[in-house]
Amino acid sequence: MKTVLVVDDSRIVRKVARRILEGLGFAVDEAENGAEALAFCRSKLPDGILLDWNMPVMNGIEFLYALRAEFGRDEPRVVFCTTESELESIARAVEGGANEYIMKPFDAEIIESKFSQVGLL
């Protein structure tokens, strides 16, 4: 079973994302910010990460750059999931190594579409 780490400081978003991803057949773990997510990845690298941008302690873009510096650009697949919807933000995330990008709000169909595009479905 493929694994996805949901990184978001909102408990509600994590809960909704978990339900959708589990429905798609993923085993889901959660982290509340980038620092927690990085610690998680050091112990067990997931197949995919659903990543919020604006979080306390370490935000999504800082986490992404740290993740790619440590583990390379290929794995895990990272899907940003954020309210940041300007082209500049999207470009910054893609340059930093995000494989796909979701602009909130999202639904099950968008999650499925994006995880399929990054090759996890």
């Binding site: 919807s85 300007e86 082209l87 999207i90 470009a91 893609v94 995000a98 796909e100 990008y101 979701i102 602009m103 999202f106 639904d107 169909e109 968008i110 579409s113 994006k114 595009q117």
Partner: protein, 277 residues
């Protein structure tokens, strides 16, 4: 009342609506689609001040070619769509069909594509972006896309090339969004070089398409499922008449020509793709 909801219609009205829709659009309305009728026509019923859906159908019957009848057809035939729907046909176009046709037509040639039930435009624009992505492999051969639909309303939306944030996230890879769209407020607008590859025209699939010219690729996906067997055969015969000898027809994932028409045969190794027999 047959279906128990306050807005439901009686059996006579349902039959009349079904007959009207089949004559106008070829769509077969079976009783299990009652929820669809209620959902789509209730707002029009209220706007027109009709007491119930029976009264709305009576209005349609009294002026079969009037504006309300047109609106009913539009509401009942507008289908949800997404960019690069089903994926495979676009991979097949990109990897095999467009390069092969470009080689055959030459650097000054044109590949003509018909998106025959284009709805809000995601399909023809997906073809346009596919062609843009492999432009060097096409060696100067132009790709020209005609997008048609029965509904004027969706054609207007499609031609504008404007999509909501929700729409651009369904099927469209982020790299293509960044490359071919510009953000305008809360909407995303296709750049002119993609939009200009597609022209739009109102067209009823039941009519012989000869006036539209010949095509190298025809996409008529997720439309035949709404037609009965004789109508499916008629539409496929019409398409066969305008498809180039080396052209390709794409149907929806749940559709087939087998048992419906002898004019087409499946293309080896490509799902939903058909060539002339």
């Amino acid at each position: 009342m047959l279906w128990g909801s306050g807005d439901s219609m009686n059996a006579a009205s349902f039959s009349a609506l079904a007959e009207f829709l089949q004559n106008r659009s070829g769509i077969v309305l079976t009783p299990d689609k009652m929820y669809l009728v209620e959902t789509r026509l209730a707002p029009l019923m209220r706007r027109e001040g009709c007491a119930d859906l029976n009264a709305l159908v009576a209005k349609v019957k009294s002026a079969l070619s009037g504006p309300i009848a047109d609106e009913v057809v539009e509401l009942m035939t507008t289908n949800e769509t997404l960019f690069f729907r089903d994926g495979k046909p676009f991979e097949h176009l990109r990897n095999e069909v467009l390069p092969r046709l470009a080689a055959a037509r030459g650097p000054r040639g044109t590949i003509r594509v018909w998106s025959a039930a284009c709805s809000t435009g995601q399909e023809p624009y997906s073809v346009a972006m596919t062609a843009k992505e492999i432009a060097p492999a096409l060696g100067g051969c132009r790709v020209e896309i005609l997008a048609t639909d029965l509904s004027r309303d969706v054609l207007r939306r499609a031609a504008a090339g404007r999509f909501s944030q929700f729409e651009v996230q369904r099927g469209l890879p982020i790299a293509l969004l960044m490359k071919y769209f510009q953000k305008d407020g809360s909407e995303w607008v296709l750049k002119e070089d993609v939009r200009s590859m597609v022209s739009f025209r109102e067209w009823n699939l039941l009519h012989p398409p000869t006036p539209l010219g010949r095509f190298d690729v025809v996409l008529v996906r997720n439309v035949l499922i709404y037609f009965d067997a004789p109508t499916k055969a008629r539409v496929l015969d019409n398409i066969a008449a305008v498809l180039a000898k080396d052209g390709v027809l794409y149907l929806g994932g749940a559709e087939t020509v087998l048992g419906v028409s002898t004019r087409f045969v499946p293309v080896d190794g490509a799902r939903s793709a058909y060539a002339l027999a």
